[in-house]
């Protein structure tokens, strides 16, 4: 089942002579239980691709479908994003005045879930990724790897089908980075669709399929035969 589908997506920033063509006709699908990695140097369009796939940005032309829904027809994108899509960024954006558990609860509370229920959901996902003991700590009391785990928990809470990760291993050492990928992989094997943007080959290699992006275009891709072999 396809969770997100981009068809001939182009994204142009600006107009006329100074226009920047960030994406030039990119087509890409990510299915449930599939981990797809997008690799490319800075300026290749990776982050734009991720933003468009998650409804944070709209394409100049082409279509983006999340499940059956064409994002161009969705009026309240913010609500759809909160319910369906989880984001993990390099800059974690954890709120420093909230505890780990409160950070994870936040998107659910924004969605109108009552605090008790939101807390329960948050604790469940923290338990799933093995960091229950960190629930009542503040971000500054956590290591870089622990903070990234909390950010991932926040992206996973609720029933999001699509997880978007932009350089989620940032400045982490390779061992902690591998642990983060293990988490994403586990979530994926449980049925989520994961789209990962990275410039590090070792993390891209956790994916079922690796797509190489250059100057806004997909230049080559490892086939997805590994999915069925799994």
């Amino acid at each position: 089942m396809t969770v997100v589908r981009l068809a001939e997506v182009a994204r142009v920033h600006g107009e006329g002579a100074t226009a920047v063509h960030a994406l030039k006709g990119v087509s890409l699908e990510v299915g449930a239980g599939e981990l797809v990695a997008v690799m490319g140097p800075s300026g290749s369009g990776k982050s734009t691709l991720l933003n468009v796939a998650g409804g944070l940005d709209r394409p100049t032309s082409g279509t983006v479908h999340l499940g059956e829904r064409d994002l161009a027809t969705v009026r309240d994108l913010a609500a759809l994003r909160r319910r369906e899509v989880g984001y993990v960024f390099q800059d974690l954006n954890l709120i420093t005045s909230l505890t780990a558990a409160e950070n994870v609860m936040l998107p659910r509370e924004l969605d109108g879930v009552r605090p008790r229920a939101a807390r329960k959901e948050a604790m469940a996902v923290l338990a799933e990724i093995g960091v229950t003991d960190l629930a009542d700590r503040f971000p500054e009391e956590l290591s870089g790897g622990q903070r990234q785990r909390i950010a991932i928990a926040r992206a996973l809470v609720g029933t999001r089908r699509l997880l978007l990760a932009d350089e989620p291993t940032g400045a982490l050492d390779t061992r902690t980075g591998d642990e983060i990928l293990q988490l994403l992989r586990t979530r994926c094997d449980a049925g989520a669709a994961v789209l990962l943007v990275t410039h590090e080959p070792r993390y891209a290699a956790w994916a079922d399929r690796v797509v190489f992006l250059r100057d806004g275009m997909i230049t080559d891709t490892t086939d997805s035969s590994l999915v069925s072999a799994r």
Partner: protein, 169 residues
């Protein structure tokens, strides 16, 4: 490559017979280097000749157990204390191939790079999968890590080549 020193290292953990050494060597190196049992016995008899190991009694299956000698322990420690030099590495076929593709001028170098990059990424995917499936065995996982780092270095180099050639054009 030092099978000789590897056997000494394994024997420093206690007496073992040849077949045990073969099994332990292969397990520790993640199955990346299968040893011929004949090679194990040849190496053991050379080590014995040099006074680095001493044979003991045969067991009921007629297998001789070997023990490391103090001289053998010294030899092993010297091995671990000596850094490995990279100077006598054989030439890398991929490097030569790319250099020739650039020198030949009429070859589509970018296509060569893309093909290799995709192939190396597949290797990297397989290694990562093998590592995830690897049972608890630090030696074995570290061997896989070494191969992962090497494939990653090749991948990075290919991306570097692509970027450099793009500027040159």
């Amino acid at each position: 490559m030092s099978v000789r020193h590897s056997l000494l290292a394994l024997l420093s953990g206690g007496p073992r017979h040849g077949y045990q050494l073969k099994i332990e060597f292969e397990a520790s190196t993640g199955g990346t280097w299968p040893l011929n049992i004949g090679q194990v016995y040849t190496t053991l008899s050379r080590l014995e000749r040099d006074g680095l190991v001493a044979p003991g009694e045969s067991d009921e299956q007629n297998r001789v157990t070997y023990t490391i000698t103090p001289a053998g322990r010294e030899e092993m420690e010297l091995w671990f204390a000596t850094p490995v030099v990279q100077s006598d590495r054989p030439r890398d076929e991929l490097v030569i191939k790319l250099a020739m593709a650039v020198a030949a001028r009429k070859v589509d170098v970018t296509a060569v790079i893309h093909q290799q990059r995709t192939a190396t990424m597949r290797t990297l995917q397989q290694l990562t999968k093998a590592k995830r499936a690897a049972p608890e065995g630090a030696a074995q996982r570290l061997v896989l890590d070494s191969m992962i780092f090497q494939a990653e270095a090749e991948q990075r180099w290919l991306e570097h080549c692509e970027a450099v050639l793009k500027e040159e054009r």
